[in-house]
């Protein structure tokens, strides 16, 4: 009977739960693991109760995941998606941060550019796919372009807001000590805006990871989004779809953890501390 592994799981979780009273640092993981396991159980029960032939149970998704890992297919698609996200994201950082710093600092530039930025921002990057393919073809170029678009706006807008938030005393300190031009940006504007910029990088990377999957589903022939589409079209392998979704989620978490490490630098910690 397929429910047996779950019963064993629930029983061992119960043991873990009671044992956790004596645990030290590991303790805070007990609750999240229990909740996740409970959700897997609910998932399993829901699928079996509905009698669906095609919706996978968590066990089937797990088996599909093992199959994916063994095939060479998964790594190629992971690399394809990650490459597009990284390249597009870094391009957006390279353009968005300097532009945001200048637009945020200079009122004139802000008045000139802000309406355009605000006008382009609400257009979903997915809507750009036809043009992306027209200009760059089906391949990495279009993906990088779309990720650039989807990260650029959060980064630029976040940087502008960060600069406009710089406190008056810090601006006056800078003026008092005669800081100008590049030095002003390097010593005051950039570091003052940095904590908020890092937050906008986090948002941008999250959006980029959402967008790349959608973009690969619609208009590309590799990557995790394409893998999902492919699994569905080639013999309705919904177990592979679910397994890929789990991979996407896991990579998303890792990307966020990586970017959050930026928040630990001495130069920006002040921006996150409770004051």
């Amino acid at each position: 009977m397929t429910a047996t592994p779950y019963l064993i799981l629930v029983a061992s979780l119960g043991v873990l739960w009671f044992a956790s009273a004596k645990m030290g640092r590991g303790r805070r993981w007990v609750m999240p693991i229990c909740v996740a396991m409970a959700l897997f159980v609910v998932w399993h029960i829901a699928v079996t109760a509905a009698g669906s032939e095609i919706t996978p149970t968590p066990l089937e998704a797990g088996a599909a995941f093992a199959q994916l890992v063994k095939s060479n297919r998964l790594w190629g698609d992971v690399v394809a998606s990650l490459f597009r996200v990284t390249a597009g994201f870094f391009l957006a950082v390279a353009v968005g941060i300097p532009l945001g710093l200048v637009v945020g600092w200079s009122t004139k530039t802000f008045e000139a550019l802000n309406p355009i930025i605000q006008g382009l921002r609400p257009v979903s990057p997915i809507a750009w796919i036809p043009f992306a393919i027209l200009w760059f073809g089906i391949g990495d170029g279009a993906g990088v372009f779309l990720i650039f678009l989807s990260s650029f706006f959060p980064i630029a807008v976040g940087t502008v807001a960060a600069v406009q938030n710089i406190s008056l005393v810090h601006q006056r300190s800078a003026m008092n000590f005669g800081l100008k031009g590049v030095e002003l940006f390097r010593r005051v504007v950039l570091p003052a805006a940095m904590p908020q910029i890092i937050t906008s990088l986090r948002i941008a990377l999250g959006v980029a990871w959402l967008v790349i999957v959608a973009a690969e589903m619609v208009g590309m022939d590799s990557g995790l989004g394409y893998l999902i589409n492919d699994a569905r079209n080639m013999g309705k392998r919904y177990d592979l779809v679910a397994a890929t979704m789990i991979v996407i989620g896991a990579i998303g978490i890792v990307l966020d953890l990586m970017i959050r490490r930026l928040e630990r630098f001495d130069e920006v910690r002040w921006g996150y501390a409770k004051r």
């Binding site: 006056r172 003026m175 008092n176 010593r187 570091p191 003052a192 130069e267």
Partner: protein, 270 residues
């Protein structure tokens, strides 16, 4: 205006007589209006004041009377609606690295270490030259051992010392302090006052110090300039003829305190 005040002011603006210190910061008929929803809000009216070189002057007045505004005008961050401020005879038209502000809210940079904050005004010097100034300045304000710390790791009093050190490092000829100890507890405040007096005695810098604390002004200033409630006008100028360290129980201290409370229009016997 009482005769005493008129006399004080006449002495004030008589200019330098031989052997006396030169005028340093001179306010001439300074008015300031802010715009408040289209209506002018008068904040300062007819401020005439001469601060002499090396003098320690306190600006005392009730909250909202325009003390910060007056200091900001001297510092070049605001411009007066009428009148002008000169330093060494030259009109002020913008901030200047020779005259340093210690702000009412912390003005040091939270993203830079204590050392780098103090280095701000010395950035044109070589590393060795910087160190030769920074270390003694940090020692002077009692922060040795915290050079690599960041402001968020320091107490309020220590942050204020960093800001004082940042100002002192450039050997400014005028220091403006806007209620620098306002956010500190009363013990730390007393300690900081003693320190600022010591630093002033050592450096011979001209200091313009804003406060709304009567005792603070008598403890530290050579001269106390009292501003009325908004619109701020000079309502009294008192010379504090007491040597440091000052005896807070002396009759002269009590006399000055009474006079200040009288001018400010509050009774201090509760």
């Amino acid at each position: 205006m009482s005769d005493e005040v008129a006399q004080a002011r006449a002495n004030e603006n008589a200019g330098s007589t031989p052997g006396e210190a030169r005028p340093k910061v001179v306010f001439e008929g300074v008015d300031k209006d802010f715009d408040q929803g289209g209506q002018p809000l008068p904040v300062l009216r007819g401020v005439d004041l001469t601060v002499k070189e090396g003098e320690f002057v306190c600006l005392l007045g009730p909250s909202g009377c325009g003390k910060s505004t007056l200091l900001n005008i001297a510092g070049g961050f605001e411009s007066p609606t009428a009148g002008r401020v000169t330093i060494d005879g030259d009109p002020v038209n913008g901030p200047d690295a020779r005259r340093v502000f210690v702000f009412q809210e912390y003005g040091i940079f939270p993203w830079a270490s204590v050392w780098d904050n103090v280095a701000l005004g010395l950035r044109h010097l070589g590393k060795a030259e910087q160190a030769a100034i920074i270390q003694p300045t940090i020692d002077m304000v009692g922060l040795q051992g915290f050079e690599r710390s960041y402001p968020m790791e320091l107490s309020g009093g220590m942050k204020q010392r960093v800001e004082v050190a940042r100002a002192l490092a450039v050997s400014p000829d005028v220091i403006y302090m806007d209620e620098p100890f306002g956010a500190l507890d009363s013990l730390t405040r007393l300690q900081m006052r003693a320190e600022i007096v010591r630093i002033w005695q050592e450096s011979q810098t001209t200091i313009l110090f804003v406060t709304h604390d009567v005792d603070e002004s008598i403890q530290i200033a050579e001269r106390i300039v009292v501003l009325s409630a908004r619109p701020g006008e000079i309502s009294d100028i008192i010379t504090v003829d007491l040597d440091h360290p000052r005896d807070l129980g002396s009759p002269e201290y009590g006399r000055i305190k009474n006079r200040l409370f009288e001018t400010l229009g509050v009774s201090h016997s509760i």
